[in-house]
């Protein structure tokens, strides 16, 4: 058989003592493959190996056995016959006695015992034989670490898979395991040991079974590991390992109640140790053990447990004042680990037995503390320690009250009357009909009592929320606590309300205000089936909170806590649909707030009021819809006041309202879904407002730009969140309005009209008004178009495009955005029946290029190839001509961006035109159109135009918030930036080389800087070698002009990206001296701190390069850095020190 010769080769290779572990693994794999595809069967293999398995040379024997075992371990999914399994397991279990070759035997047993039933597994009796052989022959603690681990794994495997087979081994098994695990120290092995003990406990659950005899011995071994603590820390994963070990030990501790007599004394003893970590662990262990041992066993430790919990939490509280303490009136504490664990333990034991509650309630310390605290009334007197203690006592008592109805009764009986007495509140008399009488006035200001009282209320609420699901209301009524609560809740609530309403509230009473608000919140959020307060009081409390929110805006503390409480109450209503409360919340809170925002007196601190309105609305959809209605009304009022009358106050307010709308309300609806109505209504509402106010207040546009901007943003967001149908509705409506207002005619498709209108703007204010109105109309219309989805149909596309084109010529940037959005989204060809309304991309592009580069109609510049900008109507006014040209450039840039994003080929034409413009000065652009441009231009205007063309590359490459992004449904091809980058950069760099004029070169560098700084770093890295010299020239030229500091900073960031990336290193090394020189120049760039800082950081990065390349530059760098040590800014000085020490050590 071919397989057998091959396998002999592998066997020899493996057994050979010079074989490396890699070779051995290869042999094992080879043999396993032979067995798997049946070229070799297992009997033949064993026969071939006979010599190695039985030889007296123990090294060869152990290798042979290990080989067989490892091969078997690879065959877990290959079916084997029962006979072969039988003989193999017999062999391996016998070999366990051969201590010189035991590893192979263990691995073999493990491989065979781990097999699944479908592929043939070891029988129970065989497994028992293995276990017996293991217990008799294996001296686990005498083995090495790896072998110990293997043998523990074997035992674990037997216990997990063959528990029934070995159950009757009893004492032998337990004794053997005790012996095997004693004195184990390796963490990996210990995890297995702990698991073995856990499995043992499962094997013998009987309290009088064999385990009971060995429980003490086992626990003696186990207990010595508690608490898990590494004396020699080795690495970073120590913490993980410690966690894992500690969890395994915890499970072993709690595995059987038989350990209780031994474990509890140990844990209690550790509780009194001085090591905090030991205490934390002990609390954790006891909490878990409590749940496993059962309450019968735990009762006897009650006293001891309570005193250690008390010690940890109450006697010496370790809580720290939390960051939000100010917001909670000085009572916000963060418990440390120990306290947290102690409270967890308390909660566990409380739920087990009422005896713990009795212990707590009869505790003298707590009693005395509470009594003495209640006697001192002034909050100012209470020291930090007392406050910490109060916090702990409140927590302890509320845990008691929360644990069960019975203990809640006891807590209430012992403390509640005391507290009420201290607060001076008497129970409500059944006869008393009228609420909020004057006689029931403000309660006594007693901080301790009030704090505990609020804690109790909170505990009751938890308890009722817990029982609410499965207890009848009648069950509550019989409980003492319930009765007490019913009697006192009314007066308490009245007390809270009248305190908040009284005018003694000032900043010194923050803590009281917080507690009262919290009390109202708690009492108002009891489940419906258990209402301790009447509807009338509920309404009163809402009213109180609302009045704080509406009127006391200058008292920040009361305002925030009241708002928070209202939001909580609102959320609670939303959780349990409870019609009665929802309606009273709506009528009291929501209506008030709506009134607040729609009424005139919103002017002062309006942002806070809007915040409140949004927060309360966000609790429930129904409320939000109502709030939005109010917002809409308010917007309508203020918008028209601002728009028609030019009221400055209203202007500011309307802007703020619109901002709230676009930043909060619309995103909220978008998140909750199914909400198209709201944005459509909003958008149509704005259009209706414009329609209704026929005249507009003529004002210089710069004052109004805020309102217009806010309206546009809100409009864009609203339209963007609509579906196609909604968008079509909005665009049709706006288009009609545009037609009605003769907008198209006034803006004119004939430039003559347009220019005269514009001149009118300058000369005549009457015309100005209408022009201003047109600006509004067109801007809003543009916003609608920007946010359209690609599928939306547009009415009369041609007119629209014409309108935008003429607006662009007049310098209206939003129109450029809108046109670019159209270009980005229009279908390239028209199909189907929609064609009579729509327009295709090709048509639009023809129109755009036609009007941007059109042979003029009056013939003054005829005779060319039809590619000039139409300047016919504008040539009268030089100023106009110039700005029109830059407007065209900006427009072109946006169109180019749109085309680039959808991956259209024409972007190339636009790029080339822009490049041509950029080089106007250099006489390179010899095409006719450009000559025309220069002719018309003033000499001095040319540089400005070139700059504009260079900056248009920034428009093309950067992401825009205004349009062409995902939110406004732009068509975005992946990697479009990379594509543009890789096509433009070669052109730019070759032009840089060719250009002779310095001004052209500087413009080329400017364009280059824009393209590079917005391109993804990976794209730049691949070209790093070519780019670095240009980047450096770029920095050198740009740093001449102070105005370019932002561009420099962006380029510098690209450079630092190259420096810090591994892939850029090679290119950097080649140019090291030049880079360093340039960076040194920039460390003295006085205009911008960010640039200096980045330059120094780059120098630090340079110091990491191979020393041979940079050593010659050391002196130079150190000299220049010592200047930076004297920088006026501290951060720069610190960076300079870092840089200096980084370079100083180079040698």
């Amino acid at each position: 058989m071919g397989g057998s010769t091959e396998c002999v080769k592998h066997i020899e290779l493996y057994v050979n003592s010079s074989a490396t572990s890699l070779q051995q693994e290869a042999s094992v794999n080879a043999i396993a493959t032979l067995l798997k595809n049946d070229t070799l069967n297992i009997e033949t293999l064993v026969r071939e190996m006979e010599m190695y398995l039985t030889t007296t040379d123990h090294i060869i024997r152990s290798r042979g056995i290990l080989l067989l075992a490892e091969v078997l371990a690879k065959l877990t999914s290959k079916p084997l016959t029962d006979t072969s399994i039988h003989s193999l397991i017999g062999f391996f279990s016998e070999r366990l006695a051969d201590w010189k070759a035991s590893r192979g035997a263990i691995v073999g047993c493990l491989a065979l015992l781990g097999r699944k039933k479908e592929v043939g597994m070891v029988t129970d009796s065989e497994a028992k034989a293995v276990a017996l052989s293991y217990l008799q022959n294996l001296q686990v603690q005498a083995l090495g670490q790896h072998d110990r681990k293997l043998s523990f794994r074997l035992m674990e495997c037997i216990l997990d898979h063959y528990a029934c087979a070995i159950r009757d081994l009893g004492d032998v098994l337990l004794y053997g395991i005790c012996e095997a695990i004693d004195e184990e120290k390796d963490p990996d092995c210990l995890v297995l040991v702990f698991h073995i003990i856990e499995s043992l406990a499962k094997l013998y659950p009987d309290p009088s079974g064999p385990l009971s005899k060995f429980a003490q011995d086992l626990f003696e071994i186990l207990g010595s590991y508690f608490p898990i603590h590494f004396t020699h820390r080795k690495g970073e994963d120590d913490d993980n390992k410690r966690e894992e070990l500690s969890r395994a030990l915890l499970l072993a501790f709690a595995s059987t109640p038989l350990f209780e007599p031994f474990s509890m004394p140990l844990l209690l003893e550790k509780l009194s140790s001085s090591l905090p970590s030991a205490k934390v662990e002990s609390f954790r262990y006891i909490s878990y053990c409590t749940t496993q041992y059962g309450s019968d066993r735990m009762v006897k430790y009650a006293q001891a447990l309570w005193s250690s919990v008390k010690e940890a939490t109450f006697i010496s509280p370790q809580s720290t004042v939390s960051a939000e303490s100010e917001l909670t009136g000085g009572m916000g504490f963060l418990d440390n680990d120990m306290m947290t664990q102690a409270f967890v333990l308390l909660q566990e034991v409380m739920q087990q037995d009422i005896i713990f509650t009795n212990l707590v309630l009869s505790d003298k310390d707590i009693n005395i503390f509470v009594n003495s605290l209640i006697e001192s009334t002034d909050f100012g007197d209470i020291s930090l320690l007392l406050r910490q203690k109060l916090h702990a006592a409140g927590h302890i008592l509320s845990v008691c009250a929360k644990s069960s109805a019975a203990s809640c009764n006891k807590v209430f009986e012992s403390y509640f009357p005391l507290l009420m007495n201290a607060l001076g509140i008497s129970p409500a008399k059944p006869s008393q009909k009228s609420y909020l009488d004057d006689d029931c006035s403000v309660f006594k200001l007693n901080f301790g009592a009030l704090y505990l009282c609020i804690d109790f209320l909170g505990a009751c609420r938890c308890l009722t929320a817990f029982f609410d699901n499965f207890t009848l209301v009648s069950d509550f009524a019989n409980q003492t606590w319930c009765a007490m609560l019913h009697r006192f809740s009314g007066p308490l609530m009245k007390g809270f309300i009248s305190f908040l309403g009284s005018n003694i509230v000032d900043s010194g009473h923050n803590a009281f205000v917080y507690l009262c608000v919290k009390g109202l919140q708690t009492l108002s959020t009891f489940p419906e089936s258990f209402v301790p307060v009447s509807k009338h009081l509920y309404d009163c409390s809402l009213l109180m909170l609302v009045s704080i929110v509406t009127s006391e805006i200058n008292k920040t503390f009361s305002w925030t806590s009241a708002l928070k409480a209202l939001v909580e109450i609102g959320l609670f209503i939303d959780n349990c649909p409870d019609s009665g409360r929802a309606s009273s919340y709506k009528s009291t809170v929501v209506e008030k707030i709506v009134f607040l925002i729609s009424s005139g007196d919103i002017t002062s601190s309006s942002s806070l009021k809007l915040q409140a309105a949004y927060d309360i609305g966000a609790t429930r959809k129904e409320f939000m819809v109502r709030i939005v209605q109010g917002l809409d009304e308010a917007i309508a009022v203020h918008f028209s006041a601002a728009y028609e009358l030019g009221n400055l106050e209203s202007d500011k307010l309307a802007t703020e309202l619109l901002d709230t709308y676009s930043n909060k309300v619309l995103p909220w609806f978008l998140e909750t879904g199914d909400s198209e109505e709201i944005p459509i209504k909003f958008a149509l509402g704005i259009w209706a407002n414009i329609e209704n106010s026929r005249c507009i207040n003529p004002r210089p546009p710069d004052n109004a730009s805020n309102l217009l901007g806010a309206t546009m943003t809100a409009m864009k967001k609203a339209v963007g969140s609509c579906t196609v149908e909604g968008q079509e509705m909005i665009i049709n409506k706006s288009y009609e309005l545009l037609l009605e207002s003769n907008c198209f005619e006034s803006m004119g498709f004939q430039s003559d009209n347009c220019s005269s209108k514009l001149k009118g703007l300058q000369q005549n204010h009457n015309f100005g008004s209408s022009t201003y109105r047109y600006e509004w109309l067109i801007s809003l219309f543009a916003s609608v178009v920007i946010a359209l989805r690609p599928q939306a149909c547009i009415p009369n596309g041609k007119m629209m495009v014409q309108l935008f084109i003429s607006a662009i010529l007049n310098g209206h940037v939003s129109s450029a955005h809108a046109l670019s959005a159209l270009v980005n989204k229009l279908p390239s060809k028209i199909t189907g029946i929609n064609s009579f309304r729509s327009i295709s991309l090709e048509e639009v592009l023809d129109m755009i290029f036609g009007s941007f580069f059109r042979t003029s109609s009056n013939g003054s510049m005829s005779g060319n190839d039809g590619h000039e900008i139409d300047l016919s109507g504008l040539k009268l006014d030089t100023l106009r001509i110039q700005s029109a040209k830059s407007n065209v450039v900006i427009g072109l840039a946006w169109i180019g961006k749109a085309l680039l994003m959808r991956g259209h080929v024409k972007v190339k034409d636009i790029t080339m035109t822009l490049l041509g413009l950029l080089m106007l000065d250099g006489n390179i652009g010899d095409s006719n159109q450009l000559q025309e441009w220069t002719e018309v231009c003033d000499e001095e205007y040319v540089p400005q135009l070139m700059k504009c063309a260079a900056d248009s590359f920034h428009i093309i490459m950067s992401d825009s918030e205004e349009c062409l992004n995902r939110r406004y449904h732009a068509v975005i091809r992946p990697l479009y930036k990379q594509r543009f980058f890789s096509s433009v950069i070669p052109i730019l760099s070759s032009l840089v080389v060719k250009s002779e004029s310095s001004s052209v070169r500087s413009m080329l560098y400017r364009a280059f800087a824009h393209v590079v700084s917005d391109a993804p770093l990976t794209a730049i890295l691949s070209e790093a070698k070519k780019l670095i010299p240009i980047l450096l020239d770029c920095l050198a030229i740009l740093s001449m002009d102070v105005l370019d500091k932002d561009i420099i900073y962006n380029v510098l960031l690209v450079v630092s990206g190259l420096l810090t990336d591994r892939n850029g290193e090679e290119a950097v090394i080649g140019n090291a001296p030049r880079i360093i020189n340039q960076l040194i120049d920039l460390t003295a760039y006085s205009q911008s701190m960010a640039i200096r800082e980045t330059a120094i950081q780059c120098l630090v990065a340079m110091s990491e390069l191979p020393h041979t390349r940079i050593y010659p530059l050391k002196t130079q760098v150190l000299q220049s850095i010592s200047k930076a040590l004297d920088d006026p800014k501290r951060i720069i000085r610190q960076e300079a020190v870092r840089c200096r020490s980084a370079w100083y050590v180079i040698s």
Binding site: D1126, P1128, R1130, Q1134, V1137, R1140, S1141
Partner: protein
């Protein structure tokens, strides 16, 4: 060289918390200087000068207009022969961290050293400082203190 440690059992104090400073103005102030010198290692122990209370925030005074820095440090014990080494370390460190136009004065706190006057004289003598740093053993000790990563 001495056998054994001069102060075998120093009192170690906690490190103070550090805050990134964002406040203006950006003038050089004592805290600025203290930030640079607090982490210099003690020549004898693996603790920083701050931990051994050799330096504190109050031990630095600065006059930016005149360009003067004065550091007054407190050796852990009266007969500390390491006082001069500590002074050398401070001087070297400040030379690295501040522009050369600052004049640095380093003194031991009055009454904290048995040989106060001569130590002060030694530390502020340009020639002697330069000579000390020429000594390879001393130089190595100073550099260990400045660039140590033991802390």
């Amino acid at each position: 060289m001495t056998l054994g440690l001069i102060n075998a059992n120093p009192v170690v104090h906690a490190k103070k918390e550090r805050h990134a400073r964002t406040d203006d103005p950006h003038a050089v102030d004592p805290l600025d200087i203290y930030e640079h010198v607090r982490d210099i290692r003690d020549p004898e122990h693996p603790y920083s000068l701050e931990q051994l209370s050799v330096l504190s925030e109050d031990s630095v005074t600065v006059d930016e207009k005149l360009g003067r820095i004065l550091i007054t440090f407190t050796p852990t014990i009266q007969h500390c022969s390491m006082a001069t080494v500590i002074g050398l370390c401070l001087r070297e460190k400040l030379k690295d961290c501040f522009p050369p136009h600052f004049k640095v004065d380093i003194k031991v706190a009055p009454g904290s050293h048995a040989d106060e006057e001569s130590v002060n004289k030694q530390l502020n003598d340009k020639e002697r400082v330069a000579a000390a740093l020429e000594n390879p053993n001393l130089r190595q000790l100073v550099e260990e203190c400045l660039y140590s990563s033991e802390l």
